[in-house]
Amino acid sequence: MVSVVEPLSAPLELSFAYTRSLGPTLGPFMTALAERRILGVRGSDGRVHVPPAEYDPVTAEPLTEFVEVADEGVVVSWTWLPAPLEGQPLQHPFGWALIRLDGADTCLLHAVDVAVPVDLCTGMRVRARWAPERTGHIRDIVCFEPADTPRAPVEPAAAVPPVAIVTTRVDLHFEHTASAQESSYLLGLQDGRLLAQRCPQCSKVYLPPRGACPSCGVPTEEQVELPDRGTVTTFCIVNVAFLGQHITPPYVGAYVLLHGADIAFLHLILGCAADEVRMGMRVEAVWRPRAEWGPALQNIDHFRPTGEPDAPYDTYAEHL
């Protein structure tokens, strides 16, 4: 039987707040930002790098000779973003600019807040707009604005303790797609069926099926329905608690080889004490209530012992 289905897809979210330790060059720069000051470093060729270069682009030597520069400078190049993207400094149309601050020889990349692109030009003077609350982060500068914008009155910035670490979020969104073979398997699970596929070359039966047989590199097409019973080939007892865990340890993670399959997959063994699980133990699937089923292996809540005699070692030894 050949099955062709439209591949399933679902959102995949990648979100994490990275903690970045700064070291001797970036640390003082970030600390100064918290004090509404901007520091550059002097390079081997005398150039003042703003933002600071940790290592010299010419000699690769570490750079720590700090030079304070102005929070005002000149636009060296610019572009206009009619539709800002997530995470960018401003969420209304704005310009990006390479800005050479007074006292610096290199350019800082940042946003410039003007209403329309004709308000932005190369050579115009801009000034940092500081965040009211600063933590020692590049985003302590909200954006730049035309230098003739009246300065908002501010309290003098107090000295802050050295900033050693910055936290930066990375949030990305993906659409994750299953292969056609995996999709037919997932749709089978939705109906409580275990649909494996057989490789046309080596005849091995894969559950879950993959885009191609990993031994032969050819797509699999022939569908094979497997029973929800099998053998534990090997396992471990999870005693460790960790973030996101939803079962209380101890429990057993085991490779289950379904009858008729040529490859085992990891699943949970419950329904007996963890220390009673054995290699070769016969198990059967315990399905969740039908109302909870989706296109997922989680429809099988766990496997439990059938009570049948254990499979002889030789019958599963080649699957270890």
Binding site: P62, A164, I237, V240, G253, A274, Q298
Partner: protein
Amino acid sequence: MSKNRAAVLGTGQTHHRAKRGDVSMAGLCREAIDRAMADAKVDWADIDAVVVGKAPDLFEGVMMPELYLADALGAVGKPLLRVHTAGSVGGATAIVAASLIQSGVHQRVLAVAWEKQSESNAMWALSIPVPFSMPVHAGAGGYFAPHVRSYIRRSGAPAHIGSLVAVKDRLNGAKNPYAHLRQPDITFESVQASAMLWDPIRYDETCPSSDGACAIVLGDERAATAVDRPAWLHATAMRSEPTTFAGRDQVNPQAGRDAAAALWRQAGITDPLAEVDVAEIYVPFSWFEPMWLENLGFTPEGDGWKLTEAGATAMGGALPVNPSGGVLSSNPIGASGMLRFAEAAMQVMGRAGDHQVDGARTALGHAYGGGSQFFSMWVVGSERP
């Protein structure tokens, strides 16, 4: 057909810690690089190319970080190559750097491998719920522990072998000034008493999570003859196989066996146990020592644990394994493989300090990654091949 000779001119590594909060990513790399260049007595002008290795970019949240690091790596205006072959990457990076010399393209190449795991959380990066796949909620140990159980069943190894390895490696690590875990007071009893995390793997039988970097300066024959006691490359090998396939041997993977066979053949070694003086083997869970001893062909299948039990892999034994303390003492993932390669070189260069194996002339460096599916290894020697 013959390739040019290549040798390690110098090595360097960071002090490995759970969190190196005192340095940036660039600073971490440079700590290892500066030590390697000082060890090799070379300056930036001597370096023709830079090869960088690291495990997934998600660990640090930087896409292809070697690009932004180009200045710190001294790579501006030079060739820069980034390798990523999972956990074996540190070894693969050294091998790619070697091929830059063996192919006659360059005279001196800097290889760097690093990981700053504390920027994120490796458990997180490795367990992002990918749609349609079922999380088994077990972590890295949960992946490897069932295969350890299979090994024990197959080989009939006594249950305490894993603890023997852990004690040995941690005591070795106590003599390594760069090691993350330095536990001079560890005992067999204390390891046995540690929590059974992923039965049959105990807490003390697992590797830590580290920030760290390693660097190696490699050179051609002319560069090597100009330095005192280089480590000559006698052989390199890499093999890969899919993570899973029907009939795959997950305890003793064929990719590892094939790589080792090719390695010994290339090095002219017919009896590895007799001819290799010291081995740095990638052992993130202690049971992998006997498993890899077999996979590498040091013993027949099923006998690796006997070597361990007899103390042959301890300092002073017939084949000291991981005198540096190994991955069990320091595990900056992307760098862990290169550390094995560098430590092997340090042994034959006579520069291993308090964990030097006396008279070591031939050494193995070994790394593996993924689901025991990517292997990289080299043999280095004090003699020109």
